[in-house]
């Protein structure tokens, strides 16, 4: 079974803090994703990585950066957290392919920025 783990289930940070959200997958997947989930807005793609050190912006990358130094790990970084980044953050992974391959999601990190 594919397992995607996220470093924290709940996180509380203060405005201006630098925040790291970590995601690890154990299935040797090439693709990894970061989404945020907000009521009424569904899931919105923040960043996508298709290989180590490779990344592409999703729909809402502003205020975020990512890091993929190892294939199994994909980090989301909030350089200076703001209250409007309070949200549920979901990480996912999938194998490469020429179509939309099944994404496997982690349990999510609920981030509150005060």
């Amino acid at each position: 079974d594919v397992k995607v783990t996220q470093s924290s289930r709940y996180l509380v940070k203060r405005t201006g803090e630098k925040v790291f959200l970590e995601c690890v997958q154990d299935m040797d997947h090439e693709n990894m994703f970061w989404y945020r989930q907000d009521p009424g807005l569904g899931l919105r793609l923040i960043y996508f990585s298709y290989d180590v050190k490779m990344k592409e912006k999703g729909d809402i990358p502003e205020g975020y950066s990512v890091s993929r130094e190892k294939k199994e790990r994909f980090s989301l970084i909030l350089e200076s957290a703001s209250t409007n980044q309070t949200s549920m953050y979901l990480c996912a992974s999938s194998s490469s392919g020429s179509r939309t391959d099944t994404q496997y999601f982690g349990p999510g990190t609920r981030l509150t920025v005060l």
Partner: protein
């Protein structure tokens, strides 16, 4: 850029068939349609995927008309444990291509006894 639209919520009773429709008027040639299910405090999980016509697996069916501008997820004989949020995803991705992964807003299905 494909935009997906789903009903916000639906109610059903145990044993009934439930159909949830997703509209995606601007779907592109390369786009696939995928449905995910999400329970509280969990990440979404894959249910079914299709490109055209009909796809069936052990938990659901997916109907896609010829113009592909909409799709319908069909859950046969739902039970209380099918109470969840269902997301429609339209998109395509491959190496070095985020594609246009557009999730719908999600449909909250409430199954009543």
């Amino acid at each position: 850029l494909a935009k997906t639209t789903q009903p916000i919520s639906m109610d059903s009773y145990e044993g009934q068939e439930v159909n949830i429709t997703c509209s995606h008027n601007n779907i592109a040639t390369n786009d696939y349609i995928t449905w995910y299910q999400q329970f509280p405090s969990q990440g979404p999980r894959f249910i079914i995927q299709g490109y055209k016509t009909k796809v069936t697996n052990e938990v659901a069916s997916l109907f896609i008309p010829a113009d592909r501008k909409s799709s319908t997820l069909s859950l046969p004989r739902v039970s209380l444990s099918d109470t969840a949020v269902y997301y429609c995803l339209v998109g395509f991705h491959g190496s070095s291509n985020t594609g246009k992964l557009i999730f719908g807003q999600g449909t909250t299905l409430q199954v009543k006894p």
